[in-house]
Amino acid sequence: MIRLENVTKNYSAEVVALNDASFDIAKGEFVFLVGPSGSGKSTLLRLLNRQERPQRGAVWVAGRNIIDMPPSRVPHLRRNIGNIFQDYKLLLNKTVFENVAFAQEVIGKPKHVIRQQVPAVLDLVGLAGKEERFPHQLSGGEQQRVSVARAFVNRPLILLADEPTGNLDPGTGEGIMRLLDRINKTGTTVVMATHDQRIVNTMRKRVIQLDRGVIVRDQARGVYE
């Protein structure tokens, strides 16, 4: 599903975000990216949805090298990738329903499909009955659930999560992880950058560890260390 071949990404001569990184992620895998701040985890996620382009190497997503993909095709790539962020990135002037529907609306899904799929996904993330609330009327965990619903509503092949539990208390974070695990079990590949030692150690999924842009460990059913 995802393959990185000798990828190097520099922001300047001194700042090397990724250095000759290579790995494969199979369809349906759940992978943790771990490492200290500035180790290149977020850059790696940004490379996977073509927000960034590397100086060297190839990034394959769903069988296609996305580095030389024409800009007009990038939106189509992104329709197969869901994104979850530490700060949720919800639209504060829209309700829960509208936030999730927005992801379908902007890619031209018909209204009747939106009316059918949004409640279903809100039910999946445990937000049934809160469709008309605005983000400020929700707890942090609920806001992150809306973010997960928005990322998953188009049934993407890949879900990229950048520190999704970073702003949440441990109990709420566990709830989000259960949700991501459930989504992963539907066949969606999940790649999650995290600092949360407890979660990584509990989940016992594949762990790719980065240090100053270099992959220093790639371990199946790994722990944080």
Partner: protein
């Protein structure tokens, strides 16, 4: 398709409401510059009417009495022919129909006099272009000569008044054109700034849209539509003002004495509607270009 259209219209309307003051400033600037653009064209057209008889270097009009016989006309033409190549470079005869057509332009602002003219009482005329070397004294001499010919009603020279009007036309055209170009540029920049502000206000929304796979055009179109509407609204205000000013001026000119020469300085032939169309098209174009450039430039918010 319908949902996209609904989305585009909804977002455009929301953006309008979000930026009311800036949007109003952009619309007013566009309206003022488009109004000056329209007025420039109308004034230019009015001057063209005023100088219609004097186009092509004509410096002298020899009016022949109404219903003159062909022999008389041939005789006057013969006299003019004799001086061709010396004092006269060329001349042109304007028959009854030509004279009536010209009267409709020259007396457009004086419908009372215009209504009194018909095929039986309108004088025909010769339009005379003197040689370059012909001086004022020579022209005056020719005028006296032609005025004494039988069946010649009167002879009119362009002299200083026409030269003054021609110079005034050049002056007004140059400066009003410069003014509307500068103002149009300013309104384009204002629209550009409005869109930039709107995009900045919605940067998080745009970021989310891009991440979930919205195309750049999908994101751009509501902003471009907003710019287009701003330009178009400016155009509508300008057209309304232009028509009002033109109507008031045309009404006012009727009170001027015929000898003032201002009766031709009006636009009554429908040209004001052609100009109105150009104002709307031009307003929409400037709005769309300004917003299109901004929407493309600031898409990576």
């Amino acid at each position: 398709m319908l949902s996209r259209l609904t989305y585009t219209l909804r977002e455009t309307w929301a953006s309008f409401q979000r930026n009311v003051t800036l949007t109003a400033a952009a619309i007013i600037t566009a309206a003022v510059s488009l109004l000056i653009f329209g007025l420039t064209l109308l004034i230019q057209h009015g001057f063209d009417n005023l100088l219609k008889r004097w186009e092509g270097g004509v410096e002298m009009l020899v009016f022949v009495v109404p219903q003159a016989e062909q022999d008389t006309i041939d005789y006057v033409a013969g006299v003019l022919d004799q001086q061709r190549g010396t004092a006269i470079e060329r001349y042109e005869y304007c028959d009854v129909q030509c004279s009536l057509d010209e009267a409709r332009v020259v007396l457009a602002g004086d419908p009372t006099t215009l209504n009194l003219l018909n095929e039986n009482n309108i004088p025909t005329l010769f339009k005379v272009v003197p040689t370059e070397a012909a001086e004022v004294d020579v022209l005056r001499g020719l005028r006296d000569t032609y005025a004494s010919l039988p069946q010649v009603e009167t002879v009119v020279l362009a002299e200083d008044q026409i030269d003054l009007i021609a110079r005034l036309q050049g002056f007004v055209s140059t400066y009003t054109t410069g003014l509307w170009i500068a103002l149009m540029f300013a309104s384009g920049l204002l629209i550009w700034n409005t869109i930039r502000t709107a995009m900045f206000a919605r940067r998080r929304e745009i970021e989310v849209m891009k991440l979930v796979g919205a195309t750049d055009w999908f994101i751009r179109i509501p902003f471009m539509l907003e710019g287009l509407i701003q330009g178009l609204l400016g155009g509508v205000i300008a057209v309304g003002s232009l028509q009002f000013i033109n109507w008031r001026w045309t009404q006012g000119v009727q009170d001027f004495p015929e000898s003032s020469g201002m009766t031709a300085l009006v636009v009554t032939d429908g040209y004001n509607w052609t100009v109105s169309f150009f104002i709307l098209a031009f307003g929409a174009l400037v709005g769309m270009i300004g917003s299109g450039i901004a929407a493309s430039k600031f898409l990576d918010v």
